[in-house]
C-alpha cells in the first residue's frame, strides 16, 4: 500500500499547499462578492429610477455580462485591462477580482431591481403619503423589504461565484486547481492514481462549500413561497 494513490495527498506539504490554494480561491470569491454586491445594489436602485437613458445603459451593461461567458470575461480583464491602464505585470488574481466583481454587480443589479419592484405598490404610496423623501423611502421602506426577497437569489449567486473561481487557473492564478495540477505532475511517476485523489479532493472541497449554501437558499425560498 506504500504507493496507493491517496497518499499523494499527504506527501510532503501537499495537503497544506492545497489548503493554501483553497484560501486563494476563497479570498478572491469573497472580495469579488463584497465589491460586486455593493456596486450591484447601487445599480439595482438606479434601475428603478425613471430616467430612460440611465436605465438603457444599465440594461446594456447587464446584457453584456449575461451574454459573454465568464471565461471570456476573465480573459478580457487579463489581457486588456493592464494595457488600458498602462501597467505591466498586474497579478492575475487582481484582474480576476475586477472581472468577477463587475459580473456580480451586473447580476445582482437585476436581483435588486426585481426585488424592489415586487415590494407592493401601496408600501411605496404609504411612504409618500407620510411625507418621506426618496432617500427615506428607500432606506426605511423599500430596501429592508427587498432585502428579504432577494436573499435566496443572492445566495445562489454566491454559489455560482464560488464555482466560477475554478476558472482562475486559466489566467494562471495559483488557485486550488492549479496547485492540484502541480502536485499531480510532480508525483505522477510515484502515484499513478494520484490524479484521481487530488481532483477528487478538490471536487469535495467545492461541494462542501456550495451544497450547504444552496440548501439554505432553497429552504429560504420555500419559506417565502408559503
Amino acid at each position: 500500500m506504500a504507493h496507493s494513490g491517496i497518499n499523494v495527498l499527504f506527501e510532503g506539504h501537499n495537503f497544506v499547499r492545497l489548503l493554501g490554494g483553497l484560501w486563494t480561491t476563497v479570498w478572491i470569491a469573497a472580495l469579488s462578492l463584497l465589491i460586486g454586491l455593493a456596486l450591484g445594489a447601487l445599480l439595482g436602485i438606479l434601475r428603478t429610477f425613471k430616467n430612460r437613458l440611465l436605465r438603457l445603459i444599465l440594461r446594456l451593461y447587464l446584457e453584456f455580462f449575461r451574454i459573454v461567458p465568464t471565461v471570456v470575461l476573465l480573459f478580457l480583464a487579463y489581457y486588456i485591462l493592464p494595457r488600458m491602464m498602462h501597467v505591466a505585470n498586474l497579478p492575475g488574481s487582481l484582474m480576476a477580482v475586477v472581472a468577477f466583481a463587475l459580473w456580480v454587480a451586473a447580476e445582482f443589479s437585476d436581483i435588486v431591481r426585481g426585488a424592489l419592484i415586487s415590494v407592493p405598490k401601496h408600501q411605496w404610496e404609504s411612504g409618500m403619503a407620510l411625507g418621506l423623501n426618496r432617500h427615506q423611502l428607500f432606506r426605511y421602506v423599500l430596501l429592508p423589504q427587498a432585502f428579504r426577497l432577494e436573499m435566496p437569489a443572492t445566495i445562489n449567486l454566491a454559489t455560482r461565484v464560488i464555482k466560477t473561481t475554478s476558472l482562475l487557473m486559466m489566467i494562471s492564478v495559483m488557485d486550488v486547481i492549479n496547485i492540484g495540477q502541480q502536485i499531480i505532475e510532480a508525483n505522477n511517476h510515484l502515484y499513478r492514481t494520484g490524479v484521481f485523489w487530488v481532483y477528487g479532493l478538490i471536487f469535495v472541497f467545492y461541494f462542501l462549500v456550495d451544497y450547504p449554501l444552496s440548501r439554505w437558499a432553497k429552504k429560504m425560498d420555500a419559506k417565502q413561497a408559503d
Partner: protein
Amino acid sequence: MSWTIIQQSLPEFAKGFRLTLWLSLIGILGAMIVGIIVSLVRYFKVPYLAGILGAYVELARNTPLLIQLFFLYYAFPVIGWKMSAATCGIVGLIFLGGAYMAEGFSGGFNGVAKTQLESGKALGMSDWQLARYVVFPQGFALSVPALAANVIFLIKETSIFSVIAIPELTNTALDLIGLYYRSNEYLFVLVIAYAIILIPLSLILTWLERRVRYGTFGN
C-alpha cells in the same frame, strides 16, 4: 485593432463556431432527456432511484464543470475509462446540464395544481397516464422560463471545454492569441461570436416564455 488580422482569423473562428453550436446542441438535447427522466422519477418518488438521482442532482449542481471535466479527461483514464476530449465535453455537459434541467422540470411539475392530480386519480388514471397527460404537459409549460435560462447557461459553459483542448470558440481564440499575440482582435471576434449565438436565441426564448405563460389550468 486591425481588420486584416480579424479577417484572416475568420475561417478558424467559423470552425470553432460550428463546433460550439454542435456541442451545445447535443449537450442540451441530452441534458433535456436526462432532466425529464430524473425529474419524473423524483416527482413520482420511485423507491431508491429517486434518492440516488437526488444525490446526483446535488452533486452535479454544486461542483464546477471544470472539475467535472478534469475528472472525466484526466482521472478516468487512470482507472481504464478513456474517452476523447469531445466525448468528455459532451458527457460533462450532459452530466451538469441534466441536473440543472431536472431542477427546472421539477419546479414546473411541482407547480401543477394538486387538484389536477387528484382529478386524474379520481378518473382512474395510472401513474404513467398521470405523468403523460396531466403532469407533463402543464409542468412543461411552467418550467419553460427555467429551461430557457439553462439553455443559455449551457451554451456559455461550453467555453470551459477549452481547458481540455476541444477547439471550440474560446479555445480557438486562445490558440490564436498564443500564436500571434493579437489579444484585442481575437477577443473582440470571440465576444461577437457569442453575441451572434446568444442574442437571437435569448430573444426567441423570451418570446417563447411569453407564449406559454397561460399553459396552466385549475388554479
